[in-house]
């Protein structure tokens, strides 16, 4: 394994800028790593080695021509297959989009390119981002580099696994109910969910429009902040994007202190259903924050308990509408068009064949929840719950600067264990969903290994809307203190993957 793949994104960017290596050399090292381990990990759905090297050489050319490039120029990034890419297929993990080549780049994609990042390939995901394990991908599951028999989290499991397996120093994800933070937690890396609207949804294949948020994965907080900064900011193509400056996340990640801050522990997150090893590491992290100078208080958010049921009305409702367009008329899969069937029949056959069971379950849930006569009791009520959760957050943030909780109640579970039990699967997002319901900023940083299974545990840090810098600041402080204690990053304790 080349030493280049162990380096952080910030280091790689600096080495390339200093001329000590080239984007092409860095790209080749990562391509080699992908070739060596991705047969086992299956983080990627699409890697075009030639295309990657061409991108890298183009960045080297831009630098040689004297162009002023950002700190991540030449650094590889693994890109979740939910973002459209004009030069690569985009499937959202679904058979219904197999082979589709979008005619346009998502805003996030375009900004990665503009910043000189080299898109290494498209990463695996739960179909249409619906899931917490990446087992719902139509293209087979991704495996957790810590234990190949376990899930890497989801829906952005390909992105978390790619970074944890040193296939890429950075990756993109989307977080609708925890799809960045939960995979980051169970693979021992950093994953951030920016403020809703802080990063553009244009070209992000929608699951639940009012919740979907693009965000970064990295092996450390500063790298995540650099990637966050590279693709965030107002986009006139997305009406819900926030027309405000990107919060100073990089500066906050460098600052890495909690002096004078008040940290709230969410009382409702803990106890029954939480793995003891997860709670132990979480409690230690809270003590650590106190030892670093933060004031720690317990905060009650009584309505957080309703977040998950409300989420499972709002997200499927929006999804049932967002996924209607996959009707075999203009792109993607078409089944049964033999000249004897009506358009409606072809639509029905295509959707029956093209969507997986979890997607169908959520389309049916959402269709039901929006139906005339049920709307007020379900969708309408769920929106009211959203307001109540917002009030809980507002009240909490009057007392504290950030809230903390475990990112997910358990460590990575074995592949197949929850595949037939949707409710058990949904519980993986119990602690992450409230921030999606209100759109505020959150991050997951590694806080140790659970004693029972030796698997990573994540600490979730939540801040108000547009308080993204706070979660990076606190996350970086925790990271620095823990790495001092561990003598290096948590990921260094992961077993070496055998090259095959």
């Amino acid at each position: 394994m080349s030493e280049l793949v162990k380096k952080s994104a910030a280091e790689l960017g600096a080495l390339i800028a200093a001329g000590e290596t080239s984007a092409a050399e860095v790209a080749q090292a990562h391509l080699d790593r992908v070739a060596a381990v991705d047969g086992e990990v299956h983080a990627f759905l699409h890697v075009d080695a030639e295309g990657v090297l061409a991108q890298a050489r183009a960045v080297d050319g831009r630098r040689a021509a004297g162009e002023e490039l950002g700190p991540l120029a030449g650094v590889p990034v693994a890109h979740k297959d939910v973002f459209t890419t004009a030069d690569m297929p985009t499937t959202a993990g679904s058979k219904i989009l197999e082979g589709w080549r979008p005619p346009y780049d998502a805003t996030v994609t375009a900004r990665l390119r503009k910043a000189g990042l080299v898109i290494l390939g498209k990463t695996n995901m739960d179909e249409f981002a619906m899931g917490s394990s990446t087992e719902n991908s139509a293209y087979g599951p991704t495996r957790n580099p810590w234990d190949l028999a376990r899930i890497p989290g989801g829906s952005s499991g390909g992105s978390s696994a790619a970074v944890a397996a040193y296939e890429a120093p950075l990756s993109t994800g989307t977080d609708t109910g925890g799809s960045i933070r939960q995979p980051a937690a169970v693979t021992g890396i950093v994953g951030a969910k920016p403020t809703y609207g802080g990063s553009s949804r244009y070209g992000l294949i929608a699951f639940a429009s009012s919740l979907d948020t693009p965000g970064p994965f990295a092996r450390n907080v500063l790298d995540a902040a650099l990637l966050h900064e590279a693709f965030s900011g107002h986009d006139p193509m997305d009406s819900t994007s926030v027309d405000r400056p990107v919060p100073p996340v990089v500066e906050a990640a460098r600052r890495a202190d909690v002096a004078g801050m008040t940290v709230g522990v969410v009382k409702e997150f803990g106890g029954e259903g939480y793995q003891p090893g997860v709670l132990a590491r979480f409690n230690e992290a809270v003590e650590l924050l106190e030892s670093l100078g933060a004031k720690v208080v317990e905060v009650s958010c009584p309505n957080f308990g309703y977040a998950m049921p409300a989420y499972y009305l709002i997200a499927p409702s929006e999804a049932s509408s967002n996924l209607a367009r996959f009707d075999a008329m203009r792109y993607g899969l078409r089944v049964g068009d033999d000249g004897s069937r009506s358009a409606e029949e072809v639509m029905a056959l295509t959707r029956a064949a093209g969507f997986g069971p979890e997607v169908k379950r959520r389309i049916m849930l959402g269709t039901y929840a929006l139906s005339s006569g049920y709307y007020d009791a379900y969708y309408g009520k769920a929106q009211q719950v959203r307001t109540l959760i917002s009030r809980d957050f507002d009240a909490a943030f009057e007392q504290v600067d950030v809230l903390v909780s475990p990112t997910t109640p358990t460590t990575a579970f074995p592949i197949g264990e929850r595949a037939d039990d949707p409710m058990a699967m949904y519980l993986a997002d119990l602690c992450t969903i409230p921030s999606n319901m209100t759109g505020n900023a959150a991050i997951s940083v590694p806080c140790g290994l659970a004693d029972e299974d030796g698997l990573p545990v994540g600490l979730q840090i939540m801040a108000p809307v547009l308080g993204d810098d706070r979660v990076y600041r606190v996350g970086a402080a925790v990271e620095r203190a823990l790495e001092d204690r561990w003598g290096g990053p948590l990921l260094a304790q992961a077993p070496e993957l055998e090259a095959k």
Binding site: T90, P102, P103, Y202, S239, S321, F326, L370
Partner: protein
Amino acid sequence: MSTPTVMKFEQALAKFEPVLGIETHIELGTNSKMFCGCPTAFGAAPNTQVCPVCLGLPGSLPVTNHAAIEGIIKIGLALNCDIVEWCRFARKNYFYPDMPKDYQISQYDEPLCVDGHLDVEVEGETYRIEIERVHMEEDTGKSQHVGGATGRIQGADHSLVDYNRAGIPLVEIVTKPITATGDKAPLVARAYATELRELVRSLGVSDVRMEQGSMRCDVNVSLMPRGAAEWGTRTETKNVNSLRSVERAVRSEIERQAAVLDSGGRIVQETRHFHENTGTTTSGRSKEEAQDYRYFPEPDLVPMAPSREWVEELRATLPELPAARRKRVQQEWNLSELELRDAVNAGAVELIEDTIKAGAAAPAARKWWMNELSRRATEQGVELAELPITPEQVARVQAMVDARELNDKLARKVFEGVLAGEGAPDEVVAARGLKVVSDDGALAAIIDQVIADNADVADKIRAGRVAAAGALVGAVMKASRGQADAGRARELILEKLGAS
């Protein structure tokens, strides 16, 4: 399908009182579509004015067209509506091949404009049509069903879809129930559609051309027995593509429903299609198994909150509205009711007014537009305003007539030339050599010849029968191939014959 029997209109009205409701869709004439930057020109090659947004490609997002919102607010204000302070778009979900997203962005329970009215006049009596709501939505694509007898989807071999129309801004104007119109119901419906078209045209926000589909009416009709308190079941007739058809559709539906009710039958709540060739309606989709559109607020767009200042600014830009203009021009031009109605129906009021502004006298301006040019528009099957001639050009021709450089006959030839694309009036006059011969020398030679040829008539004139001069003037005109100045010729003839 059996042909429904009908009851004679007068008889139907003796037994039943009709209640109407009219929903009108108007395509706004904005340069770009409702939610993307695609052009909106009519008649472009199929699927050439499309992009990821109006094709509903995965990942694409809508962005509201400010000019369209301006347009609908102007319509709302002209219809005396309240413009709400806050409202949202909603998704109307249903599957159809010409719907790119399989939902239409529309408005549901929060329309932008509410509670207006429009006064219309029928046979000297004023009817106030109450407006329930005016809301904003996007148009669908256009399906073309190939093969089969009816051009409708039933029986077609295959269908083609043109998405150029998809996403064109569409304003829907819905009346409250129109009652107590009695046997004037068909005329009131037509007068409403006519007045609405005039109103919207005067605002300059749409070309409101029913034959091109930029204005489309759906007509709701129900009957109740005279003296009854409860309204009957209504039908909704679609495909009503001209003002005349609005009147005919109402009349035909009254006659049909009366026959059904009179024979003890019941009216089925359904959509019906109007057929231009027969003037009757046939049954379409039944609404009794009502479509559930699963409306919910569009999460991809932020709410609309037009500021009061902006609304007042727009109100201040409203032009003189048709009713006020009609009153004024009738007085200024000294027109009878009938003359006014003819000018209005021909769409000539503005053209005449602009011609007067360009220097022509009112009677002359009206004469050219209502006679010569109306005739040519009818011949060519186009609207008066579409003739390739401007009011300024008409005024220029009249100026030449006033200066005796042209007579009426020559003026008509100038119009012919201008309409044939031969250039401006002066260019046509020059190119065709259409100057009136008023130069005395040239005329004198012709007159001498005419007197010599018509000695008997000349004698009568010499004997004092001045009226006989007309015959000689006619001969002069003939000899000059219409180019002589008739007035000057007459003066010269009388002078020569000593009768002046």
